[in-house]
Amino acid sequence: MQVPAQVEYEKAASVEHALALLDRYGPAARVLAGGHSLIPMMKLRLAQPETLVDINGLTELAYLRAADGELRIGALTRHAELLGSAAAGAHFAILHDAERVIADPVVRNWGTIGGSLCQADPSEDLSAAFAALKATMVIRGPDGTRTVPAREFHTAPYETVVAPGELLTEIRIPIRPGGGSAYEKVGRRVGDWPVGAAGVAIWLAGDTITDAGIGLTAVGARHFAAAEAEDFLRGAAASEENFARAGEIAAEHCRPVSDQRGPAAYKRHLAAELTARALRRAAGRARGEVT
């Protein structure tokens, strides 16, 4: 039987209240959102907070809004809500691709977008998706609000720039015309973390790639991104040959490790192949050829 260690519990009634509670209890407090990563870690004593600040009552952080050239996702939005959002899917197919293969429908009902990002698992699907989309994270703290690019959000496995006393409140994604996006994942079984996965956002002018964002997860990519492959693609033709070459470049620059999900060489192979597949599908979507 697995049970968490003894812990104090506070229910936050507003963002301001949550920040006050985090300030009062200090670094030994942890924010509790869906809890689908934190509670299992508490059961295993991998996390042992003294106080939980439950933010599930903060309905003001559960929203998806497309306005003013941005999609804004509240941090307490559940995975199922993102997957169910027609606006999110219309602008960023990559988010629906990724959500369909995150955990299972019941876990997606309760797990949150902000919680997944703050858990900062090195195999997190959404970290790659938001890196590809060059999203911006909005963080609130006692001194106000600050924004951090998605690619500067994670500092190490299971660590982010969100300091004790701060709260991730929103993710913003710029909506730019002429683009397409896609996410490709290989897992051992349905609902598992990826062995490897790649997310792509691409913008075309005719047959030329004007810009590309490539996110990688579970393969040891710096900042969950493949910046060198993006540089290669910018200004290049949207061709099969270039997609394959971009995949090779992405694979060269990642540092996968062998573990129970697979050997490093296989993960490197996946980084190349899945990058190429995601580029192909994203470009097809940008051209309106595939859904």
């Binding site: 968490p4 019941v106 009902n109």
Partner: protein, 179 residues
Amino acid sequence: MQITVTVNGEACTREIEPRLLLIHFLRDDLGLTGSHWGCDTSNCGACVVWLDGTPVKSCTVLAAMADGHRVRTVEGMAAPGRLDPVQEGFARCHGLQCGFCTPGMMLTARWLLDRNPRPTAEEIREALSGQVCRCTGYENIVRAVQWAARHEADGRAAGPDGAGPGTASPATTASEVTR
């Protein structure tokens, strides 16, 4: 700490430790042992209950998080004297063998049919994909949910005023099904 959770329509107030998991609150504090405690890692789905109308894995939710909210368990599925069509489908189609996964399967199936009254077999499998049947009896589970969907659709078609599921269905008592 003291919490009040509305379980199957009844407000239940108890003194608990904040670390208590919802599954243990339901089973040990309230005596509702229909929800099963399985893998403890949010993989198997034996502990699925509804929290404010949505299926969740109650081994990975604190009882404190349900304070002030509504929970529905398998004990709250049947109307007095009449099984929910999903329960009836599981009984008629042999949707259970050992029965351990059954409460969670039925609660997720009920939720699916409320949102999608005529799901395809693939949609049923997708909806239940976070739940494990250790007897591997998935074929009959899918048939059971399909039976319930058909039964409810027939009930709606036959209803005098297009009444929803459960209201216009031919009545089947619990004793008839379990006999």
